[in-house]
Amino acid sequence: MTAAATQSSSQSSPAQAPPLLDIKDVTVSFDGFKAINGLNFQVGDRGLRVIIGPNGAGKTTFLDVITGKVQPTEGKALFKGKDIKSMPEHAIARLGIGRKFQTPRVYLNLTPRENLELSCNRVKTVWHTLFKPTPKAEARTVGGLLQTIGLTANAHTPAALPSLVEKQWLEIGMLVAQSPDLLLVDEPVAGLTDEETERTGDLLLSLAESHGVIVIEHDMEFVRQIAQQNKVTVLHEGSVLCEGTMDEIQNDPRVIKVYLGDPDAI
């Protein structure tokens, strides 16, 4: 695993090029309730970033803003220097942002191979989908992905049958097949066993070598595994509380206060 090397490259890049994703002063309010409040956030084009925060900190809304599901009330969201604020979801996805949902969402009536092939398709217009057969190169890519996620043997049974972990992996596989520049992964290990969790962590770290990856997670053990030298961002009440390595975060009094309550009050 070469996470350390990845990290150094991602740390040096912001100085030269604009960041891959740049969130500037974004506020999202639902009828006066501010789910996200003046959020500022940046990631580079490689490496892994973990976002943690207590319930209701606005983590999922944050992903919704990046993927275009929710439009920010104020502020700007730039991806590769483009404003994605008013773009529809599919346009943002074509720009290079892939999202994995909290509960695995795959097409249950299609086989894993078909699931991957749909994501792998490069030109996603109606015309192309209708008249062009799947290119050989894409079929090969899909074959390789199936092997990586361990579904080769079941590539031709409908995706409703696999277990939860296989579906989680299938969805991550679909993300990779889409070959985005930025992967957003929402609670990838909820409901998995320890061993499965660790394997998922390794998978995400290997992906971070060539992509930007944002992971949202509650499971602190898992966060420690994948954070390593990578930065961790703590969200609280819709804005960034602090950023830093896992060790810094763990010793930050503000974080302790948010998670455990005010020590003075006890």
Binding site: P88, H90, R105, L110, V126, G144, T148, P158, L161
Partner: protein, 416 residues
């Protein structure tokens, strides 16, 4: 864990080419079967049944064409339209208007106009003079209207039951429009075609009716092949993907609206052709084709035959309509009871229809009828599961299962 992205270009998946050849062969066989059945219906069937029954069969076959259209959007894409009567009737009106004008001498207008004191042909009748316009109009106008309606609805992400309700409301609107406009389209009386002429022959005559029967068979085969082509390749998988999880489709970079609009328009066009064929064979088109009940009936044909199965749609349309004819001849006053019960039974007991039942449940149901327990299956299949294989190697056991029975059947249920 190895790196996924580098490996993707690596291993050649075995069996891809073999599979492609296999599917090509299967396609050729299927085409052969379709052609064979078409020929049987064209040449053999007319020799064996009476002209009256043949007329009925022709009408049922044209209804089977609508069923294909409904299956395309409901069975595969998960959009339940309760408004296909609109497109069906539009196709019927398009051909009826052309036939009416064709029969008349130059410059004359259809008789019914004089009843309402209209002396000038309304503007939208004008293009129907041209005999090149009608064949195009019977599918183009319905699909344009379907596409427009679909665009306005899908664009706002209105789906599920809301879509169904809106299509039903649209149906009521079109019904009211056609029903109320005596001066434009003869209102509730509709337009007759059986008194008109085509190529110098009476449309209601035996010869012409036989030609229409043949045309229906050919169009049904063509519609089947079109739907088969649409649903078998990547496009078809896309439709199923939209049915399963539309948001996932969106986040994968596809625009589901475009796909849905296209497939709805195609479905509307198919319904238009069916409506035209049905009109010329039944002799009249009237606003009754746009009644709420008729459009829901179309849905039940597909449900009875089996959703997401094109053969099922055809079988369902034929079976239900044939049953309707038999029963309503015998017991006219209780036919509605049967029809109502049919809706309930299909939804509760036979959710996958006749074809689906044969495909997934026939074996177990027949077994249980004779008091035998069902066949169980495992996932993953024992012969491919690594752990089982390793253990089999370790303990030297032979592989325990018969590969033909071990795969669990999976319902192609709808996820709405």
């Amino acid at each position: 864990m190895s790196d996924m992205t580098t490996e993707t270009s690596g291993t050649e998946t075995p069996g891809i080419t073999a599979k492609a050849e296999q599917s090509g062969l299967a396609k050729r066989w299927e085409l052969l079967i379709v052609v064979a059945i078409t020929l049987i219906f064209l040449f053999l069937v007319p020799a064996f049944i009476s002209g009256f029954r043949l007329g009925l069969l022709g009408r049922f076959l044209s209804l089977a064409i609508v069923a294909l259209g409904i299956d395309l959007i409901w069975g595969f894409t998960g959009l339940l339209s309760l408004g296909h009567g609109i497109f069906f009737a539009l196709g019927g009106y398009a051909i009826a208007m052309n036939l009416q004008l064709n029969t008349l001498p130059e410059g004359a207008i259809p008789d019914f106009f004089s009843l309402y004191g209209v002396s000038q042909l309304p503007w939208f009748w004008q293009p129907c003079y041209s005999s090149g316009f009608s064949p195009v109009a019977i599918f183009l106008i319905p699909s344009i209207i379907a596409g427009l309606l679909g665009y306005l609805v899908f664009r706002n992400r209105i789906r599920g039951v809301y879509f169904s309700i809106l299509t039903q409301a649209a149906l009521v609107v079109f019904f009211n429009f056609f029903n109320g406009q005596q001066k434009l389209i003869n209102g509730t009386n509709g337009l007759k075609t059986n008194t008109t002429e085509l190529f110098g022959m009476s449309v209601g005559g035996n010869v012409m009716q036989f030609y229409f029967y043949c045309a229906t068979v050919v169009f049904l085969a063509l519609a089947y092949l079109l739907c088969r082509w649409l649903t078998s390749g990547r496009f078809g998988r896309m439709l199923i993907a939209i049915r399963d999880d539309e948001n996932r489709v969106r986040f994968s970079g596809y625009d589901p609206t475009a796909f849905k609009v296209l497939v709805f328009a195609v479905s509307g066009g198919i319904a238009g052709i069916a409506g035209a064929l049905y009109t010329v064979q039944s002799g009249i088109v009237s606003p009754q084709y746009m009644s709420i009940a008729f459009s829901i009936e179309m849905v039940i044909w597909v449900a009875v035959g089996g959703r997401a199965s094109l053969v099922g749609a055809i079988v369902g349309a034929l079976v239900v309509n044939w049953g309707k004819t038999l029963l309503s001849e015998q017991y006219p006053d209780i036919w509605l009871f049967f029809q109502g019960a049919l809706f309930l039974i299909v939804v509760t007991v036979l959710p996958d229809g006749i074809i689906g039942w044969f495909r997934y449940r026939a074996k177990d149901d027949l077994r249980s009828l004779f008091g035998k327990p069902p066949v169980v299956a495992t996932y993953p299949r024992l012969e491919v599961d690594e752990t089982v294989r390793q253990e089999a190697d370790l303990y030297g056991k032979t592989q325990p299962v018969d590969p033909t029975t071990s795969t669990a059947p999976i319902k192609s249920g709808e996820n709405s």
